[in-house]
Symmetry: C2
Subunit: 190 residues, 2 copies
């Protein structure tokens, strides 16, 4: 396994075990069997390393968006959106630990903000990508023109993000699948 991959794996494990605050570069380097100097050769800082965990180790939103885009005009739109919502939910559940750890650490958050701005990346981009797909479905007549595609995308992603966070605080009694189906049905209703 390449050093870079070993470092990302070690970071993911350290975050899971010790939280963001406890996932020090010293601990991560040790676990990856490399020096801290080598870790810093691969990653400019904790921010870049944690972003790599988010983008390369979690069940990704990218492929799910690509699948949804490929399915434009095909199958049942509510069913396609339900499947997408379930993937988004899983992603946000796994990402919650990293996101909250970054939010809770003012200096890490500041570095993260700068890095996202430089790379023109950010957690708002999946909403924009979903809105584009919904606009294409509107052009194909499968989604009500009266719906605002950006608002619909913000609501679907937001509901999933919120639910992923809620389940950290309370035991939710309803199942994910019917929940996601009701969201999708309510969004695409005509």
């Amino acid at each position: 396994m390449r050093t870079r991959d070993r470092i990302i794996d070690a970071a993911e494990q350290a975050i899971r075990e010790f939280g963001i605050a406890g996932a020090t570069t010293k601990r991560i380097a040790q676990q990856a069997g490399c020096s801290e100097a080598l870790l810093y050769k691969h990653f400019a800082g904790k921010e870049a390393l944690f972003l790599a965990v988010l983008l390369e180790r979690l069940p990704a939103l990218g492929p799910a968006l690509a699948r949804l885009r490929l399915g434009t005009g095909q199958g049942d739109l509510a069913a396609n959106l339900t499947e997408f919502a379930l993937t988004a939910l899983e992603f946000y559940r796994k990402a919650a630990g990293i996101a909250s750890g970054v939010l809770a650490d003012p200096s890490l958050l500041s570095g993260f903000r700068t890095m996202l701005a430089e790379r023109q990346a950010g957690p708002h981009l999946p909403i924009q990508a979903l809105a584009e797909i919904l606009r294409a479905e509107q052009r194909g007549g499968r989604l009500d023109e009266a719906a605002d595609a950006d608002a619909a995308a913000a609501m679907l992603m937001g509901a999933c993000f919120h639910r992923a966070n809620l389940s950290s605080f309370v035991d939710l009694l309803d199942e994910d699948e019917p929940w996601a189906a009701a969201i999708a049905r309510t969004l695409v209703r005509k």
Copy 2:
């Protein structure tokens, strides 16, 4: 000012200045001008104290929900929901620091979960309260029966919660007010 209020104020300030991790009971007691023992006479622990900050110091969701409930069947539903969404957004922006700090600290989170379960409280309750209001609007014929009220409530609250979090990571370019109006319009469209 009563001791309890002084302690809550001091906790709110400490969280703002030092984050959850740095808002120690020692620091909070010192700032409130009381002993740690007295702090613990008023609050069983950090969990109870932070919950008090959330419930008693932030712009509350409760009054906004009450206003929305009182307005059932009155005025323009989309306008009422837009106003509510803007309050929810403000609440979640202020609550994000506490919520993420709790999420990022496994021991604090565990205590928080237990306390919420004991008090039958939790961040999912505003969604349920909003769903009840939406059901009443459905009975009055102002909201499409084809919409699932629970799903609609989860989407409105989720979109606000998500946006509040997004703005910690990136500079959002669109304004809150038209954003909230598009959300409300898309939800109540017939």
